[in-house]
């Protein structure tokens, strides 16, 4: 509701500019914004998943269940469930209402990425290290894993003349990244040989394959509409590809031709990219750089570099763009902090008093005809009251134009009152209004002993919801 009062020039800005804050809870390795943009999930190197409240920059929930570093995070569409994949070879589906583990799925290999189905939070697709990708259905207590193919689909002619060498090569190919299209009907998968496969999510067949390059596809991201795709490949090129509407039943996969729209690269320094993301509208592409401290932002209309975000003294790994604001979050590799870039809003002086006006140059004041007339107070008062004849409606709530396609659902994150006090890994603690002191080492780590003790007793640990007496 603040939009009508905010400076329109500030609202028109769509690219973040300066560091406006940083979040810290342990050593973060992976982050992801919720669909409504009020929460940021952060996976830590110690296996704890922390959910930050972006409005307060505080920790809203801590989820304990992994024992190794968190590899990837994925939110359900209603923002109630969160899927985390860890380097302990398991995926956990969390219910943020009470912080409980809904399902735990174990794998026989390390997980590259696990992405939730957009319509059904009990399904997810995962790419595994040197193993076949899987589509997991967790509806029942025992999760069902459907293996997905990796070998690219060739045209019928190619299929007949397949050589022995090629067959051997195909066998060595593995899928490195998977994700769902927004409808959830198809899975887009990238392989280590630069192939892009589009897999039907119900029949588990490859409908279409496309060779992007010769190198490993590290990451694929879609815009919210699913009509644009950005690819990070190990050949140091970030590609954007417009996609057809996969939910269209008339789409003919045999006639489909994908074309690379832009190739973003740094020809001078030959930078390689750690992580890529689309901006909220898909207008910009942001990428964090390997062995470098910058985030590059390209604009997709012309394909030009528009901004380099800097200010950190460390390399940045995962970079994420807020679902509807010019707001970028990135993880520092060395410190594990989450850095936040946004737009600084200057205070408008005209807002501080009703008779202040912001002017470009000096303006000569022309008084109103009756400005200094002396009139009886009573009459002024009466006239003023008589003018108040307009109709006011204080009840009707106007439907707000949703900034994302995700309407505000019923789920509201519960506010846990003692989360910070129970175990804060922050290096500073508040001791008063605006007063902070450095935390004594080891303080706030009691939960570690706690967990061991509970494990010894055989009782399952309560995930961050335990209330302190």
């Amino acid at each position: 509701m603040n939009l009508s009062l905010v400076d329109p020039f500030v609202l028109a800005q769509d690219c973040p500019e300066v560091i406006t804050g940083r979040l810290r809870s342990g050593h973060s390795t992976s982050i992801r914004f919720s669909h409504r943009g009020d929460l940021l999930a952060s996976g830590r190197s110690d296996g704890i998943v922390v959910v930050f409240d972006i409005e307060t920059n505080g920790v809203a929930r801590k989820l304990r269940g992994h024992t190794r570093q968190i590899q990837s995070l994925s939110w359900s569409t209603n923002d109630r469930f969160l899927l985390s994949a860890g380097q302990d070879w398991k995926c956990v589906l969390w219910d943020l209402k009470d912080g409980s583990r809904v399902r735990t799925v174990r794998f026989e290999a390390a997980i590259f990425i696990a992405e939730l189905h957009p319509q059904n939070h009990m399904k997810f697709a995962a790419a595994l290290f040197e193993d076949q990708p899987v589509l997991v259905d967790m509806s029942n207590d025992v999760p069902v894993k459907h293996l997905l193919p990796t070998i690219p689909r060739r045209s019928p002619m190619e299929r007949e003349n397949v050589s022995e060498k090629q067959a051997a090569q195909d066998a060595k190919q593995t899928t490195t990244v998977t994700l769902f299209t927004p409808s959830g009907d198809h899975i887009i998968a990238g392989t280590n040989k630069g192939w892009l496969n589009i897999i039907d999510a119900t029949t588990h067949e490859i409908k279409y394959s496309f060779r992007v390059g010769n190198n490993i596809l590290v990451l694929i991201r879609l815009t919210q509409s699913g009509r644009d795709m950005v690819l990070n490949s190990s050949d140091r090129i970030v590609r954007t590809i417009p996609l057809p509407d996969f939910s269209d039943p008339k789409l003919d996969f045999d006639a489909l031709q994908l074309e690379v729209e832009h190739k973003f690269q740094d020809l001078v320094q030959r930078l390689s990219w750690n992580h890529v993301t689309f901006s909220s509208t898909g207008e910009f592409v942001a990428a964090s750089t390997w062995m470098n401290h910058h985030i590059y932002i390209w604009e997709r209309g012309q394909g030009s570099l528009v901004k380099i975000l800097e200010g950190t003294r460390e390399e940045l790994s995962v970079v994420e763009w807020h679902p509807f604001r010019p707001f970028v979050a990135a993880v520092g590799v060395d410190t594990g902090r989450v850095w936040l870039w946004s737009i600084l809003q200057p205070q408008r002086w005209s807002a501080l008093a009703p008779d202040f006006i912001e002017v470009e140059e000096n303006v000569e004041y022309i008084e109103r005809e009756d400005e200094f007339d002396i009139q009886p107070l009573e009459e002024i008062h009466k006239r003023r009251l008589d003018q108040e004849d307009e109709e006011v409606d204080v009840l009707t709530i106007e439907p707000v134009k949703t900034t994302t396609q995700f309407a505000t659902g019923d789920f509201r994150m519960p506010v846990l009152l003692n989360i910070e006090a129970s175990d804060s890994e922050d290096e500073v603690v508040a001791v008063g209004a605006g007063q902070f002191r450095r935390r004594s080492p080891g303080a706030g780590r009691e939960w570690m002993n706690d967990e061991d003790a509970r494990a010894a007793n055989g009782t399952p640990p309560v995930n961050g919801t335990k209330r302190r007496r």
Partner: protein, 449 residues
């Protein structure tokens, strides 16, 4: 130049002409009398006033405006309302328009239902919980009491503050109550157990005057006698942002319904609207008389703010339009020294014909209800309390009002305005009694003949 000079003159003449043809209001009422000697010119002028009921000179324009603005929406729910209320539409008077608006109630009938006694000193604020189950009241006797809103049973007495409590606020899930006290601290209380959260919010340098929760419950805004407005991170119990707000004690604070804006007001006469996310002042509202503003709330839809000032006025501000504009002034209560607070409520029937009222206490012990649009007093509970009424709140769903004041009592009022009974209800009542008076025995067919 000559043209420009003439223009306003001409318009003035036209105005005069119109006034002549309509005639002074005194004559109008005469023409309505059944004597029937009105001239044809009068009848023409009368025509647009057909739906107005004759209580105030404000009403006619008000209704005509409403007709025009609402016409679109009404045509949309025409089909629904027709099928739903056949019986009621039959009873409506026939008129050239398809659906005349049902008469707007001109008065409310709030009657006392409960008196909750227990506070040893003046009650400074009363609040219904968002789920409507509880009433919380805070007092100068350093306690907060939680009462059952239906039965009036005292559920908890929350003790822990070291000085009188000026303000309370419910969290949106109704599980936590926050209280701000003259001991400079804000405390959170678990409503289920009645226990205080171990860490109080400490940071203000003087009395905490007013607090409000954000709609998500993750933030709290507080205004204090130390002239500062603080935004608190509720989870961590720490000051998130300090707003350099005012140059006099802050009287009231509130959050808008989506949490993006907060409002604060002060004894320096300013009302400031803040961007919650950036902490910047987006708008400042000042009335020309610069009277001290003691309390402020957002309207239920968040488009207006309602402010209590020490010149015995309550003003409704449109803060969005232009530089902010006072659109209504409600008068009729006394407010010169105390910091009164009130609330918005609704009356009438279902949403298309639901109207809003403003309710506030008064320093002579009255409770006053105003219609938001017409500024008419809908009800005045005279002598509702025996002393100043400081706090008033309305129930989120039911027609209930709670008030508290210097006479140490918390009083609950219920509206007994009879809703127009649908015909079906009467017929079923007749069927159950079978036409006989239930208290009289039916004639005995086996009696002696």
């Amino acid at each position: 130049m000559a043209d420009r000079m003439e223009l306003p003159k001409r318009s003035r003449e036209e105005d005069e002409l119109e006034e002549d043809s309509v005639g002074p209001p005194r004559k109008r009422s005469a023409s309505r009398s059944p004597t029937g000697d009105a001239s044809p010119a009068y009848r023409l002028a009368e025509r647009p006033r057909r739906y107005s009921n004759e209580d105030s000179p404000h009403e006619p324009t008000y209704y005509r405006d409403r007709d025009r603005s609402r016409s679109k929406s009404r045509s949309r729910d025409l089909s629904a309302s027709r099928s739903r209320s056949k019986s009621t539409s039959e009873r409506r008077s026939i008129s050239p328009h398809p659906t005349p608006p049902p008469p707007k109630p001109t008065e409310l009938h709030y009657h006392p239902t409960m008196i909750l006694r227990g506070h040893k000193k003046a009650v400074s604020a009363v609040k219904f919980s968002p789920d409507g189950k509880w009433i919380a009241s805070c007092s100068a006797d350093c306690t907060v009491k939680i009462w059952d809103a239906q039965t009036g049973r005292l559920e908890h007495t929350l003790e822990g503050h070291l000085a009188g409590i000026s303000t309370i606020a419910w969290s949106p899930d109704s599980k936590v109550l926050a209280s701000g006290s003259d001991d400079k601290s804000i405390r959170l209380w678990d409503v289920a157990t009645g226990l205080a959260h171990p860490t109080p919010f400490i940071g203000h340098h003087n009395y905490v005057y007013s607090i409000a929760f954000s709609p998500k419950g993750n933030m709290l805004v507080s205004g204090s006698y130390d002239e500062a407005v603080f935004l608190w991170d509720v989870r961590a119990a720490r000051v998130m942002r300090s707003l350099p707000a005012h140059s006099d004690p802050v009287g009231g604070v509130d959050f808008v319904r989506d949490g993006t804006l907060s409002v604060s007001c002060s004894h320096d006469g300013l009302i400031r609207i803040w961007d919650t996310a950036t902490g910047q002042c987006l708008r400042t509202l000042v009335h020309e008389d610069n009277a001290s503003v003691t309390s402020v709330i957002f309207s239920p839809n968040g488009k207006y703010v309602l402010a209590w000032t020490l010149d015995s006025c309550i003003r409704l501000w449109n803060y969005i339009e232009g530089k902010g504009k006072c659109v209504k002034t409600y008068q009729g209560h006394n407010n010169k020294t105390h910091s009164l607070a009130g609330a918005f409520g609704t009356y009438g029937s279902d949403p298309p014909h639901e109207y809003a009222f403003v309710v506030s206490g008064s320093e002579n012990g009255d409770l006053v209800f105003w219609d938001v649009s017409s500024k008419n007093i809908l009800q005045r509970i005279e002598g509702g309390h025996s002393d100043v009424v400081l706090g008033v709140d309305t129930h989120p769903t039911e027609k209930l009002v709670v008030s508290g004041g210097l006479d140490k009592a918390v009083r609950v009022w219920r509206d007994h305005t009879m809703p127009p009974k649908p015909a079906t209800e009467i017929s079923t009542a007749e069927a159950t009694t079978n036409g006989y008076d239930p208290h009289v025995l039916p004639p005995n067919p086996f009696g002696d003949s």
